[in-house]
């Protein structure tokens, strides 16, 4: 550093404490072991979220909510230069983000990274996944084409099946009895204002916790004596690899978005019958199929209520896992949690496969 840049650095450092941050970054270490690969998935999810924000703002430049929604998306897709690419990138990165969050969640689960003192990391992560799926559900309606219309109609039947308050919730979300321009308008408000306002601080909290507690080690690694464990510095070594993964993700996204552009269906029309083989997005396929299966065992309202109960119970158990299997010494409980995780993965995969199988 020349003396001039050094003196500018000192001036800024004195006011912002840059050296403290640099010292913190220098001391931060990332464990290196056979499972280190899974450490990248949180970062990939973060990167895809940033892509969502960026492409989302670009779509916001031309999108009209309300009655003109379809026409404005048609204009973005077919009139504006590269509008199809921006829209395709937004849809593709949304799907990839959900995928990478799921990978991140299951890797955290099986590495038992939710154990003390990381309970809040687990809970905030689950809340972020919940918000991400509401992002996906609300964003899906915004083009107001045939598919988004029916997906929203069917999706809103689930909260509407809750006893007593269900119909009120359904009408509040729809803005009336039907999915129409009022629904698009409120989903738009949800998608671009309410959800980001909830998601961003929660994401900040989640990332702050990662800085506070560092990367968790899997039990197999923790069993080793400290001298045998390997680490690498976060800055610049791990950060460089992290950014490398971001670049790989960006390339995959660019390839998918341009080679398989997201389509736009016919405008939503409640008088046109639902197309044959209509089905939810892949990340909603499993709950959709589970509800369908329960519905065939327990027909009618009983099945709907049972479905909602089973779901709520499953999600609550999943959420509370750090309090059941909370400490390093939890041998029997640790194994039980592991099998519960395997069961969850199996149930999700199996119902998703059955769901796709039965469409055809």
């Amino acid at each position: 550093m020349t003396s001039k840049t050094a003196s500018i650095y000192d001036w800024v450092d004195e006011r912002l404490g840059l050296s403290e941050i640099a010292a913190f970054a220098r001391h931060k270490q990332v464990p290196v072991h056979s499972q280190s690969f899974w450490y990248y998935w949180g970062g990939i999810s973060l990167f895809l979220f940033l892509v969502q924000c960026f492409t989302g703002v670009l779509l916001l430049v031309y999108y009209h909510p309300g009655a003109d929604a379809y026409e404005s998306v048609r204009q973005i897709t077919f009139v504006m230069h590269f509008g199809w690419l921006i829209r395709s990138a937004h849809s593709w990165s949304a799907n990839l983000m959900i995928f990478s969050i799921l990978v991140h969640m299951f890797s955290v689960y099986f590495m038992k990274a939710y154990r003390k003192p990381r309970e809040f990391g687990w809970l905030s992560g689950m809340a972020l996944l919940g918000l991400a799926s509401v992002f996906g559900f609300s964003g899906y309606l915004l083009p107001m084409d045939e598919l988004s219309y029916f997906a929203t109609k069917v999706g809103l039947e689930i909260p509407a099946a809750i006893p007593w308050v269900g119909p009120i919730i359904g009408n509040m979300l729809r803005g009336g009895m039907q999915v129409n321009e009022f629904t698009v308008q409120r989903f738009f408000a949800l998608h671009v204002v309410v959800l980001p306002a909830l998601f961003l601080p929660l994401l900040g909290f989640h990332l702050w916790l990662v800085q506070r507690h560092g990367n968790a080690m899997p039990p197999s690694e923790e069993a080793k004596p400290v001298a045998e464990r390997k680490t690498m510095p976060f800055f610049p070594n791990f950060l460089r690899k992290d950014l490398g993964m971001w670049l790989v993700s960006l390339n995959i996204l660019a390839l998918l978005a341009s080679v398989f552009p997201w389509t736009l269906g016919k405008p939503a029309d409640m008088l046109v019958p639902a197309p044959i083989g209509i089905h939810p997005e892949w990340y909603f396929m499993s709950p959709f199929e589970m509800l369908k299966m329960l519905g065939s065992v327990l027909p009618g309202e009983a099945g709907e209520i049972a479905g909602i109960l089973v779901f709520t119970l499953g999600i609550v158990l999943w959420l509370l896992i750090p309090f059941y299997d909370g400490s390093k010494e939890a041998g029997r409980r640790g194994r039980a949690a592991h099998y519960f995780g395997l069961l969850a993965v199996f149930a999700l995969l199996a119902t998703t496969v059955i769901g796709y199988w039965t469409i055809r």
């Binding site: 670009l58 230069h81 590269f82 690419l85």
Partner: protein, 163 residues
């Protein structure tokens, strides 16, 4: 034997400037690749955001506008219309003359107004005044006159074209 020992020694000595050269070439290539990558990302985004400008540019390529039924405009009144993408005005003066001009103030771009009582064109933003027959800037801040169009009054409408 000594040859064998010497070879790496010689290679190492002569390689130092060469190594620097390959390092430099690598950095230049990496920089160029990075630049090309960034450009490939930025270009679609720029074109996407510039789409309305391009549509407007094709709209300003308009050379004439026919205003249907505008021949019925009463003397002493004005008709505001769009010439391409920008506002323009057609004035039917008390003396029977037809005048069409751009309605964009040459000062800071506000839309100007014809005041028939004062027989002047006035800009509400900063008080610029123009002559309603010639478009000349009379008083206030405007630096240039308003541009005149050619006007042809027909039975079905008024045709306004670039002068």
């Amino acid at each position: 034997m000594s040859d064998v020992l010497n070879v790496p020694h010689i290679v190492k000595d002569s390689a130092e400037p060469g190594e620097q050269r390959t390092r430099r070439a690598f950095l230049i290539a990496a920089g160029a690749a990075g630049l090309a990558y960034t450009a490939a990302l930025a270009y679609p985004i720029y074109r996407y955001l510039a789409s309305p400008q391009e549509m407007e540019a094709s709209a300003t390529a308009v050379t004439e506008v026919t205003l249907k039924d505008a021949q019925k405009l009463l003397a002493g009144s004005v008709l505001m219309f769009k010439f391409g993408s920008s506002p323009a005005m057609l004035i039917h003066h008390q003396d029977g003359r037809w005048i069409a001009l751009t309605a964009v103030c040459t000062h800071l771009g506000c839309t100007v107004q014809y005041e028939s009582a004062a027989d002047r064109i006035h800009c509400g933003c900063h008080g610029g005044v123009y002559n309603p027959y010639t478009g000349a800037n009379v008083s206030g801040p405007p630096p240039k006159p308003l541009k005149l169009f050619k006007v042809a009054v027909g039975d079905a409408g008024v045709n306004v074209s670039r002068a």
